[in-house]
Symmetry: C2
Subunit: 156 residues, 2 copies
DNA sequence: CAGATTAGCTGTATCTTACAGGTAGTTCTC
DNA sequence: GAGAACTACCTGTAAGATACAGCTAATCTG
Protein backbone atom coordinates (compact mmCIF):
# COMPACT_ATOMS: atom_id res chain seq x y z
CA UNK A 1 0.00 0.00 0.00
CA UNK A 2 2.53 2.57 1.14
CA UNK A 3 5.37 1.74 -1.27
CA UNK A 4 5.24 0.36 -4.74
CA UNK A 5 8.69 -0.27 -6.18
CA UNK A 6 7.13 -2.55 -8.80
CA UNK A 7 8.58 -5.99 -8.11
CA UNK A 8 10.49 -5.45 -4.86
CA UNK A 9 7.67 -4.51 -2.55
CA UNK A 10 5.36 -7.18 -3.93
CA UNK A 11 7.94 -9.90 -3.55
CA UNK A 12 8.52 -9.02 0.03
CA UNK A 13 4.81 -9.03 0.75
CA UNK A 14 4.67 -12.53 -0.67
CA UNK A 15 7.63 -13.59 1.45
CA UNK A 16 5.98 -12.29 4.62
CA UNK A 17 2.90 -14.27 3.72
CA UNK A 18 4.98 -17.37 3.28
CA UNK A 19 6.68 -16.87 6.61
CA UNK A 20 3.34 -16.36 8.28
CA UNK A 21 2.04 -19.57 6.74
CA UNK A 22 5.09 -21.60 7.59
CA UNK A 23 5.23 -20.46 11.20
CA UNK A 24 1.56 -21.33 11.65
CA UNK A 25 2.21 -24.71 10.10
CA UNK A 26 5.27 -25.30 12.22
CA UNK A 27 3.32 -24.58 15.38
CA UNK A 28 0.75 -27.13 14.38
CA UNK A 29 3.25 -29.76 13.31
CA UNK A 30 5.36 -29.16 16.35
CA UNK A 31 2.37 -29.75 18.62
CA UNK A 32 1.41 -32.84 16.70
CA UNK A 33 4.96 -34.15 16.80
CA UNK A 34 5.13 -33.59 20.52
CA UNK A 35 1.84 -35.38 21.07
CA UNK A 36 2.91 -38.34 19.00
CA UNK A 37 6.44 -38.83 20.22
CA UNK A 38 7.30 -41.76 22.39
CA UNK A 39 7.52 -42.06 26.12
CA UNK A 40 11.12 -40.92 26.32
CA UNK A 41 10.03 -37.44 25.32
CA UNK A 42 7.27 -37.38 27.85
CA UNK A 43 9.05 -38.20 31.06
CA UNK A 44 8.86 -34.43 31.21
CA UNK A 45 5.95 -32.41 29.97
CA UNK A 46 6.74 -29.45 27.82
CA UNK A 47 6.67 -26.91 30.60
CA UNK A 48 8.96 -28.91 32.86
CA UNK A 49 11.47 -29.38 30.10
CA UNK A 50 11.65 -25.72 29.25
CA UNK A 51 11.88 -24.72 32.90
CA UNK A 52 14.70 -27.15 33.55
CA UNK A 53 16.51 -26.01 30.45
CA UNK A 54 16.27 -22.47 31.65
CA UNK A 55 17.36 -23.25 35.19
CA UNK A 56 20.31 -25.23 33.89
CA UNK A 57 21.26 -22.37 31.59
CA UNK A 58 20.65 -19.37 33.75
CA UNK A 59 20.96 -20.77 37.25
CA UNK A 60 18.50 -20.98 40.16
CA UNK A 61 15.98 -18.18 40.27
CA UNK A 62 12.58 -17.27 41.58
CA UNK A 63 9.18 -17.95 40.09
CA UNK A 64 8.61 -14.44 38.80
CA UNK A 65 11.87 -14.40 36.89
CA UNK A 66 10.96 -17.70 35.29
CA UNK A 67 7.49 -16.46 34.40
CA UNK A 68 8.86 -13.34 32.74
CA UNK A 69 11.48 -15.27 30.85
CA UNK A 70 9.01 -17.87 29.63
CA UNK A 71 6.26 -15.40 28.77
CA UNK A 72 3.88 -17.06 31.17
CA UNK A 73 1.64 -15.89 33.96
CA UNK A 74 3.10 -16.25 37.44
CA UNK A 75 0.26 -18.48 38.56
CA UNK A 76 0.97 -20.87 35.72
CA UNK A 77 4.60 -21.16 36.70
CA UNK A 78 3.66 -21.59 40.36
CA UNK A 79 1.61 -24.62 39.46
CA UNK A 80 4.19 -26.06 37.12
CA UNK A 81 6.88 -25.64 39.70
CA UNK A 82 4.68 -27.26 42.36
CA UNK A 83 4.18 -30.27 40.14
CA UNK A 84 7.88 -30.44 39.43
CA UNK A 85 8.66 -30.29 43.12
CA UNK A 86 6.20 -33.09 43.79
CA UNK A 87 8.04 -35.11 41.14
CA UNK A 88 11.43 -34.33 42.61
CA UNK A 89 12.67 -32.38 39.61
CA UNK A 90 13.32 -29.13 41.42
CA UNK A 91 13.53 -27.82 44.95
CA UNK A 92 12.07 -24.60 46.25
CA UNK A 93 13.85 -22.77 49.01
CA UNK A 94 13.12 -19.43 50.62
CA UNK A 95 15.12 -16.68 48.98
CA UNK A 96 17.68 -15.52 51.55
CA UNK A 97 17.60 -12.01 50.08
CA UNK A 98 13.84 -11.65 49.83
CA UNK A 99 11.45 -13.13 52.34
CA UNK A 100 8.62 -13.10 49.81
CA UNK A 101 10.40 -15.14 47.20
CA UNK A 102 11.27 -18.75 46.65
CA UNK A 103 14.37 -19.76 44.74
CA UNK A 104 13.84 -22.65 42.37
CA UNK A 105 16.78 -24.98 41.68
CA UNK A 106 16.99 -28.14 39.61
CA UNK A 107 17.72 -31.39 41.40
CA UNK A 108 20.22 -33.89 40.01
CA UNK A 109 17.26 -36.08 39.05
CA UNK A 110 15.69 -33.16 37.21
CA UNK A 111 18.86 -32.39 35.32
CA UNK A 112 19.27 -36.01 34.42
CA UNK A 113 15.76 -36.30 33.05
CA UNK A 114 16.17 -33.07 31.17
CA UNK A 115 19.34 -34.39 29.57
CA UNK A 116 17.55 -37.58 28.55
CA UNK A 117 14.73 -35.66 26.90
CA UNK A 118 17.19 -33.36 25.22
CA UNK A 119 19.11 -36.32 23.82
CA UNK A 120 15.89 -37.91 22.57
CA UNK A 121 14.86 -34.69 20.90
CA UNK A 122 18.22 -34.19 19.32
CA UNK A 123 18.02 -37.72 17.96
CA UNK A 124 14.53 -36.99 16.66
CA UNK A 125 15.76 -33.94 14.80
CA UNK A 126 18.63 -35.99 13.47
CA UNK A 127 16.06 -38.34 11.94
CA UNK A 128 13.85 -35.58 10.65
CA UNK A 129 16.74 -33.74 9.02
CA UNK A 130 18.51 -36.88 7.91
CA UNK A 131 18.84 -35.83 4.28
CA UNK A 132 20.06 -32.30 4.94
CA UNK A 133 23.48 -30.95 4.19
CA UNK A 134 25.33 -29.73 7.30
CA UNK A 135 25.42 -26.18 5.99
CA UNK A 136 21.66 -26.19 5.50
CA UNK A 137 21.17 -27.35 9.06
CA UNK A 138 23.41 -24.57 10.22
CA UNK A 139 21.45 -22.05 8.17
CA UNK A 140 18.20 -23.33 9.66
CA UNK A 141 19.57 -23.01 13.17
CA UNK A 142 20.75 -19.46 12.45
CA UNK A 143 17.48 -18.39 10.92
CA UNK A 144 15.44 -19.82 13.78
CA UNK A 145 17.66 -18.08 16.25
CA UNK A 146 17.29 -14.77 14.50
CA UNK A 147 13.54 -15.22 14.24
CA UNK A 148 13.26 -15.91 17.96
CA UNK A 149 15.38 -12.92 18.68
CA UNK A 150 13.14 -10.76 16.54
CA UNK A 151 10.04 -12.16 18.23
CA UNK A 152 11.44 -11.49 21.65
CA UNK A 153 12.30 -7.92 20.86
CA UNK A 154 9.23 -7.28 18.81
CA UNK A 155 7.80 -3.77 18.96
CA UNK A 156 4.66 -3.84 21.06
CA UNK B 1 28.36 -42.38 17.62
CA UNK B 2 28.50 -44.05 14.21
CA UNK B 3 30.85 -41.60 12.50
CA UNK B 4 33.63 -39.54 13.95
CA UNK B 5 35.21 -37.24 11.42
CA UNK B 6 36.75 -35.27 14.28
CA UNK B 7 35.15 -31.83 13.96
CA UNK B 8 32.38 -32.56 11.43
CA UNK B 9 30.27 -34.98 13.44
CA UNK B 10 30.54 -32.95 16.63
CA UNK B 11 29.54 -29.74 14.92
CA UNK B 12 26.49 -31.32 13.50
CA UNK B 13 25.49 -32.67 16.89
CA UNK B 14 25.74 -29.15 18.23
CA UNK B 15 23.68 -27.82 15.34
CA UNK B 16 20.92 -30.34 16.00
CA UNK B 17 20.89 -29.25 19.61
CA UNK B 18 20.57 -25.64 18.54
CA UNK B 19 17.71 -26.47 16.22
CA UNK B 20 15.98 -28.39 18.96
CA UNK B 21 16.35 -25.45 21.32
CA UNK B 22 15.21 -22.88 18.81
CA UNK B 23 12.14 -24.82 17.75
CA UNK B 24 11.13 -25.27 21.38
CA UNK B 25 11.63 -21.55 21.95
CA UNK B 26 9.72 -20.63 18.82
CA UNK B 27 6.76 -22.70 19.94
CA UNK B 28 6.72 -20.88 23.24
CA UNK B 29 7.17 -17.43 21.74
CA UNK B 30 4.64 -18.14 19.04
CA UNK B 31 2.04 -19.09 21.65
CA UNK B 32 2.85 -16.04 23.71
CA UNK B 33 2.69 -13.79 20.67
CA UNK B 34 -0.65 -15.22 19.67
CA UNK B 35 -2.03 -14.71 23.17
CA UNK B 36 -0.86 -11.13 23.29
CA UNK B 37 -1.88 -9.97 19.87
CA UNK B 38 -4.78 -7.61 19.41
CA UNK B 39 -8.40 -8.31 18.63
CA UNK B 40 -7.91 -8.32 14.88
CA UNK B 41 -5.99 -11.58 15.20
CA UNK B 42 -8.64 -13.12 17.33
CA UNK B 43 -11.76 -12.71 15.27
CA UNK B 44 -10.79 -16.27 14.45
CA UNK B 45 -9.26 -18.66 16.91
CA UNK B 46 -6.22 -20.52 15.77
CA UNK B 47 -8.08 -23.65 14.71
CA UNK B 48 -10.63 -21.76 12.64
CA UNK B 49 -7.92 -19.83 10.88
CA UNK B 50 -5.96 -22.90 9.92
CA UNK B 51 -9.07 -24.74 8.79
CA UNK B 52 -10.19 -21.84 6.62
CA UNK B 53 -6.73 -21.50 5.17
CA UNK B 54 -6.78 -25.13 4.26
CA UNK B 55 -10.26 -25.07 2.80
CA UNK B 56 -9.39 -22.02 0.73
CA UNK B 57 -6.23 -23.71 -0.48
CA UNK B 58 -7.37 -27.24 -1.08
CA UNK B 59 -11.10 -26.84 -1.63
CA UNK B 60 -14.14 -28.16 0.25
CA UNK B 61 -13.59 -31.50 1.89
CA UNK B 62 -14.88 -33.70 4.65
CA UNK B 63 -14.02 -33.70 8.33
CA UNK B 64 -11.75 -36.71 8.19
CA UNK B 65 -9.62 -35.28 5.43
CA UNK B 66 -9.24 -32.09 7.45
CA UNK B 67 -8.34 -34.01 10.58
CA UNK B 68 -5.67 -36.01 8.77
CA UNK B 69 -4.24 -32.93 7.14
CA UNK B 70 -4.15 -30.97 10.38
CA UNK B 71 -2.83 -33.82 12.49
CA UNK B 72 -5.83 -33.66 14.76
CA UNK B 73 -8.31 -36.16 16.09
CA UNK B 74 -11.57 -36.34 14.15
CA UNK B 75 -13.61 -35.45 17.20
CA UNK B 76 -11.60 -32.28 17.66
CA UNK B 77 -12.26 -31.19 14.11
CA UNK B 78 -15.93 -32.08 14.44
CA UNK B 79 -16.23 -29.66 17.34
CA UNK B 80 -14.22 -26.95 15.68
CA UNK B 81 -16.27 -27.23 12.55
CA UNK B 82 -19.49 -27.13 14.56
CA UNK B 83 -18.39 -23.93 16.22
CA UNK B 84 -17.42 -22.47 12.88
CA UNK B 85 -20.78 -23.39 11.44
CA UNK B 86 -22.53 -21.75 14.36
CA UNK B 87 -20.48 -18.63 13.63
CA UNK B 88 -21.31 -18.72 9.94
CA UNK B 89 -17.74 -19.32 8.81
CA UNK B 90 -18.37 -22.59 7.03
CA UNK B 91 -21.28 -24.69 5.84
CA UNK B 92 -21.63 -28.44 6.18
CA UNK B 93 -23.49 -30.36 3.52
CA UNK B 94 -24.00 -34.07 3.08
CA UNK B 95 -21.38 -35.56 0.79
CA UNK B 96 -23.18 -36.59 -2.41
CA UNK B 97 -20.67 -39.39 -2.95
CA UNK B 98 -20.66 -40.78 0.57
CA UNK B 99 -23.72 -40.86 2.75
CA UNK B 100 -21.62 -40.98 5.90
CA UNK B 101 -19.64 -37.86 5.20
CA UNK B 102 -20.21 -34.14 5.38
CA UNK B 103 -18.45 -31.76 3.04
CA UNK B 104 -17.18 -28.61 4.70
CA UNK B 105 -16.99 -25.42 2.63
CA UNK B 106 -16.00 -21.92 3.61
CA UNK B 107 -18.65 -19.19 3.44
CA UNK B 108 -17.89 -15.77 1.97
CA UNK B 109 -17.93 -14.40 5.52
CA UNK B 110 -15.43 -17.05 6.57
CA UNK B 111 -13.10 -16.28 3.71
CA UNK B 112 -13.34 -12.60 4.42
CA UNK B 113 -12.47 -13.00 8.06
CA UNK B 114 -9.65 -15.33 7.17
CA UNK B 115 -8.25 -12.75 4.80
CA UNK B 116 -8.44 -10.09 7.50
CA UNK B 117 -6.54 -12.23 9.97
CA UNK B 118 -4.01 -13.15 7.34
CA UNK B 119 -3.43 -9.50 6.55
CA UNK B 120 -3.03 -8.67 10.23
CA UNK B 121 -0.54 -11.47 10.67
CA UNK B 122 1.42 -10.50 7.61
CA UNK B 123 1.60 -6.98 8.97
CA UNK B 124 2.75 -8.34 12.33
CA UNK B 125 5.57 -10.24 10.68
CA UNK B 126 6.44 -7.16 8.74
CA UNK B 127 6.96 -5.38 12.07
CA UNK B 128 8.83 -8.23 13.65
CA UNK B 129 11.18 -8.59 10.71
CA UNK B 130 11.43 -4.89 10.06
CA UNK B 131 15.21 -4.79 10.11
CA UNK B 132 15.78 -7.82 7.91
CA UNK B 133 17.21 -7.80 4.43
CA UNK B 134 14.81 -9.17 1.81
CA UNK B 135 17.15 -12.07 1.02
CA UNK B 136 17.27 -13.07 4.68
CA UNK B 137 13.50 -13.09 4.81
CA UNK B 138 13.46 -15.27 1.75
CA UNK B 139 15.99 -17.63 3.31
CA UNK B 140 13.90 -17.84 6.47
CA UNK B 141 10.79 -18.66 4.47
CA UNK B 142 12.66 -21.35 2.54
CA UNK B 143 14.13 -22.92 5.62
CA UNK B 144 10.82 -23.00 7.44
CA UNK B 145 9.20 -24.56 4.45
CA UNK B 146 11.83 -27.23 4.22
CA UNK B 147 11.60 -27.90 7.94
CA UNK B 148 7.86 -28.34 7.75
CA UNK B 149 8.26 -30.61 4.81
CA UNK B 150 10.74 -32.70 6.73
CA UNK B 151 8.44 -32.81 9.77
CA UNK B 152 5.52 -33.90 7.68
CA UNK B 153 7.43 -36.71 6.05
CA UNK B 154 9.26 -37.67 9.15
CA UNK B 155 10.08 -41.34 9.56
CA UNK B 156 7.78 -42.84 12.18
C1' DC C 1 6.00 4.41 59.93
C1' DA C 2 1.91 4.37 56.10
C1' DG C 3 0.95 3.47 51.62
C1' DA C 4 2.32 1.42 47.40
C1' DT C 5 4.45 -2.34 45.25
C1' DT C 6 5.96 -7.07 44.61
C1' DA C 7 6.20 -12.37 45.08
C1' DG C 8 3.79 -16.04 45.36
C1' DC C 9 -0.31 -18.84 45.99
C1' DT C 10 -5.30 -20.41 45.31
C1' DG C 11 -9.87 -20.41 43.17
C1' DT C 12 -12.03 -20.43 39.02
C1' DA C 13 -12.83 -20.36 34.13
C1' DT C 14 -11.61 -21.12 29.35
C1' DC C 15 -9.67 -23.38 25.45
C1' DT C 16 -7.80 -27.21 23.08
C1' DT C 17 -7.35 -31.61 22.65
C1' DA C 18 -7.66 -36.84 23.06
C1' DC C 19 -9.79 -41.24 23.80
C1' DA C 20 -13.77 -44.31 24.21
C1' DG C 21 -18.01 -45.55 22.69
C1' DG C 22 -22.15 -45.22 19.64
C1' DT C 23 -24.72 -44.91 15.08
C1' DA C 24 -25.17 -44.87 10.37
C1' DG C 25 -23.43 -45.78 5.91
C1' DT C 26 -19.95 -48.33 2.79
C1' DT C 27 -16.97 -51.93 1.07
C1' DC C 28 -15.33 -56.53 0.94
C1' DT C 29 -15.77 -61.53 0.82
C1' DC C 30 -17.56 -65.56 -0.21
C1' DG D 1 -26.35 -60.43 -1.92
C1' DA D 2 -25.87 -61.16 3.24
C1' DG D 3 -22.91 -60.74 6.90
C1' DA D 4 -18.38 -58.99 8.49
C1' DA D 5 -15.22 -55.48 8.59
C1' DC D 6 -14.40 -50.90 7.99
C1' DT D 7 -15.12 -45.82 7.88
C1' DA D 8 -17.18 -41.13 8.92
C1' DC D 9 -18.97 -38.63 12.11
C1' DC D 10 -20.78 -37.36 16.52
C1' DT D 11 -21.18 -37.17 21.76
C1' DG D 12 -19.60 -37.90 26.49
C1' DT D 13 -15.96 -37.31 29.31
C1' DA D 14 -11.50 -36.12 30.96
C1' DA D 15 -7.01 -34.01 31.06
C1' DG D 16 -3.57 -30.30 30.42
C1' DA D 17 -2.16 -25.56 29.97
C1' DT D 18 -3.10 -21.19 30.73
C1' DA D 19 -5.10 -16.59 32.25
C1' DC D 20 -7.30 -13.48 35.43
C1' DA D 21 -8.93 -11.98 39.92
C1' DG D 22 -8.25 -11.86 44.50
C1' DC D 23 -5.55 -12.97 48.72
C1' DT D 24 -1.51 -12.77 52.14
C1' DA D 25 2.93 -11.67 53.45
C1' DA D 26 7.09 -9.19 52.72
C1' DT D 27 9.53 -5.24 50.94
C1' DC D 28 10.38 -0.67 49.38
C1' DT D 29 9.64 4.58 49.36
C1' DG D 30 9.09 8.98 50.90
Amino acid sequence: MSEDLSTEAGDDEVTLGRIETEVAMLMRLGEATRRRTGAEHRVLDRAAYVILRHLADAGPQNVSALATRLNLDGSTVTRQVSAMQRDGLIVREPDPHDGRGMVVSPTPAGLQRMAAVQAARTRLYGDILAGWAPEDRATLADMLHRLNDALEHRPR
